[in-house]
């Protein structure tokens, strides 16, 4: 189905669900929009701290192999990128996107906060305010901003709970899958009747939003085309599949959040990392293939709370470190490059003589993505207390 016919389909299905003339404003906007010009930002969090040095490998550094006698990926299996960096073999599914210049890696990124606590570092990265624990809302919620007449699913968090990144005053929906977002026991119309007539204005309003989202997702779920793309049967694979479905439905999605867990590889790292990176790469590759031309206007950005020690530990693993690598994938991304300033792996170049040093603040990467995504220039509201130096890695707007 082409983008145009799908939009027409959703328009019809959704209008049918609401009854002609009763279409809410967001639906008119989303379904009647002539072009799919709206940007979609997808944020992926790799919880547990990915070993960035074995993901985008600085094989050109002599120290790399020395620091990791058991864990260094042998030169011959590395997927070479630029004569200095190369991908872990499990990331090979990303290579076609790299070649198409839609994938960029930003190395030595991270938070200026020195914490090596998963809990603190994830919290700081999701709130977007390193060092400040009491920030209530997440950076992604601030990034969407309030807007009138928007889709009930403009901001979606995959999983049972709303991710910290998306928490805040702007409405966002958490869901496991599109199909499971429904009222059970055939009670939808009864609840709708109770909530819509309620004198409780707050619950009446939220009830309206809820049933709009339920109906919209139901229509998307029913019209689900047989996808020829195989996603990995994993948390990340499933999440990206659902997100792709929402994007293709032109239902007004603006930002989405997904996460993947288990990256805390202290012991026996090699097989675990291979599995994790394989899942990551295959999920992204499937997403990219699934969206095809729709990748124009879609940007995926990945992050992990901190990196891992440059030197391997005594258990064939790595411990909590500092800087890491972030990926950016999208039709507008000026990719095929490893961006950022490489600080080196010599003892005096390492942070506290043990970890890769941070040379690019993660907020500079995210600021670049948000600027491109929303067109807004003012980053002070999204990353309060920080003067962002947005990293630009997008093609000029056509």
């Amino acid at each position: 189905m082409t983008a145009t016919t799908r939009r027409a389909f959703v328009k019809n299905a959704a209008l049918a669900a609401f009854g002609i003339g009763a279409a809410p404003a967001w639906l008119t906007r989303a379904a009647f929009a002539g072009t799919p010009g709206k940007h979609v930002l997808v944020a992926i969090f790799q919880r547990g701290a990915m070993d960035g040095l074995n993901a985008v490998i600085p094989f050109g550094e002599k120290r790399y192999a020395e620091l990791r006698p058991a864990l260094a990926v042998p030169r011959e299996s590395i997927v070479e990128l630029d004569g200095f960096f190369g991908l872990h073999p499990a990331l090979k599914p990303l290579y076609p996107m790299w070649e198409a210049k839609q994938l960029a890696a930003i190395h030595a990124t991270g938070s200026p906060d020195p914490t090596r606590s998963h809990f603190d570092a994830q919290d700081f990265m999701e709130s977007g305010t390193p060092g400040r624990k009491a920030t209530r809302d997440g950076w992604l919620n601030r990034a969407i901003g309030p807007r009138k007449a928007t889709s009930p699913i403009r901001a979606v968090s995959m999983g049972g709970t709303l991710a910290r990144s998306l928490r805040g005053p702007n409405a966002a929906v958490a869901m496991n899958t599109i199909g499971s977002f429904q009222v059970r026991d055939n009670a939808q119309s009864e609840f709708m009747s109770m909530y819509s007539q309620s004198t409780d204005t707050v619950l009446k309003g939220t009830g309206k939003e809820t049933f709009e989202a339920v109906k919209l997702l139901e229509s998307i779920s029913k019209s689900k085309p047989a996808s020829t793309v195989n996603y990995p049967n994993s948390r990340l694979g499933t999440s990206l599949q659902q997100i792709a479905m929402l994007i293709k439905a032109d239902a007004g999605l603006e930002v989405a959040f997904a996460d993947t867990t288990g990256w805390d590889t202290h012991v026996g790292q090699a097989p675990a990392l291979e599995r994790l990176l394989g899942d990551f790469a295959q999920s992204l590759a499937a997403f990219h293939q699934d969206l095809g031309a729709r990748m124009a206007g879609v940007t995926v950005v990945s992050m992990s709370e901190f990196g891992r020690t440059a030197k391997e530990n005594g258990n064939r693993g790595t411990d909590h470190g500092h800087a890491n690598v972030m990926f950016a994938l999208g039709g507008d991304v000026q990719g095929g490059k490893v961006l950022g300033n490489w600080p080196g792996l010599e003892p005096e170049q390492l942070y506290e003589r043990r970890d890769l040093a941070v040379t690019t603040d993660f907020r500079d990467v995210l600021s670049g993505v948000v600027q491109h995504h929303s067109g807004t220039q003012d980053m002070a509201k999204i990353f309060p207390g920080y003067e962002a130096k947005p990293l630009h890695f997008f093609r000029p707007m056509q």
Binding site: P114, S117, F119, D120, D123, K133, A134, R136, P152, G160, T161, L162, R164, P169, A171, A172, V173, A174, M175, F181, Q182, V183, R184, D185, N186, A187, E190, F191, S193, M194, Y195, Q197, S198, T199, D200, T201, V202, L203, K204, T206, G207, E209, T210, A213, V214, H266, V267, G314, N315
Partner: protein, 515 residues
Amino acid sequence: MLRQCIAVAVAASLLPAAAPAKLNKDQRALHAASRLTFGPTAADLAAIRKMGVDKWVDQQLHPERIPENPELVERLKQYDSLTMTNAQLIEKYPPPQLLRSKKQAAAADQAKQKEMRQAPVQMIYRELSEAKLLRALHSTHQLEELLTDFWFNHFNVFFDKGFDRVLVTSYERDAIRPYVLGNFKDMLLATAEHPAMLFYLDNWTSVSTEQLEQMRKRFQGRKKQQLPAGKRATGLNENYARELLELHTMGVDNGYTQKDVTEVARCFTGWSIADIREDAQFKFNALLHDPKEKLVLGHVIPAGRGVEDGLQVIDILVNHPSTAKFISTKLAQRFVADAPPTELVAKMAAAFTKTHGDLREVMRTMLRSPEFWSAGAYKVKMKMPLEMVASALRATGARVENAAVVQQQLRTLGQPLYRKVEPTGYYPFAEEWTNSASLLTRMNFGLELTQNKVRGVRVDLDKVLSGKSAPAEIAQVLLLHPPAAETLKTLAGSKDTRPAHVAGLVLGGPEFQRR
């Protein structure tokens, strides 16, 4: 501030236009039972009617005078970890960090390791959270349980942060629970000294930069594990000091500066943990302490002292007017309205100041105020997820055999027990809990509970309804007041007339979400 504006708007929009200025007798009874328990039951209302609402409230303020539910007492005895010391918990359920080092030393066999690695978190968490739920459902000391929830949340720590997994049990039991109707200063000090808090907000590694330099010299060449706790420190850590001022006592923007935060942090250097891997007790470590003079909120903290610096700061904070106001505001927000009347907060703050932080007196002042008993306060509080789930379980007389699925519901609703990551704790405001995903979950929970589809939980609906089957009667049993006309219209018009379905609609409907 935005939050305040929203809260005011929410409260204002809810004032029922036609409601009487004062609550009638039935409303007063229901109001007391709704606000001072985890969900009103017919038995609560009967007790209130029998002894009179004032006496009932007074009794709740003195839980020591109410015999505890013997079945609950028996059931809690099965949970060994609840009464263990930190040392016993570490011995029986070593946290993962400890296992790794023990493993390096002993290279224990694989199966044993796996078992040990999985047992600790699951067992401690399961017992702790199940006990909390059972107390919420069955304790006769309902107000005390609500207050334990309130104060744990006020002094929040996150269960899953490393060593906190073995420390939270004693934190709630020893630092929070004994003081919820006692003195605020005692609770503040108990939390400040507790290893769970010291670890959660990193104060145990906070050290003055100069001391750190000296220590580095002293311990040069020794292995990390052999050094005192402070060796992990990179210098002064302000986390605890900041939250102490912002969240625990004065409230944000209420009269302190960043300079005060730093000075308070210097005062608390050395408040640390002895042998975190063995018995995890509070220890003042003079080696880490900054002995120089400090200035906190205009008070000179003289040079050359030790643990007294932190104690003096606690004293200053407890006596600061901002603290009296902030604590009173938070209590009123949880128990009265999202945007409580300023006159009420002023009365409570005055009681706080006059009694030097006697929390029973602050609560008594609130519970005797006309504001608490006003029509504007009636049914305006949105139930937080735990309140919604617990009140549904109480209303249906549910028997919880295994709380795992209930915990899962709370997680989906956004309030996993003991697992609020941020030190702010959970907010009690309506806007925090009204979003489409959670509303949907509430509806589905109502339907599943009444049809016995929540695993580990049994509901005997026939017994609860005792023969009643008309929609209006079912709603009355669960809401304990007649349903609103629009609710009744929907219920009566439902094609599915099974009592379980109708009861599910009531629990998932708008009226049940307020208390």
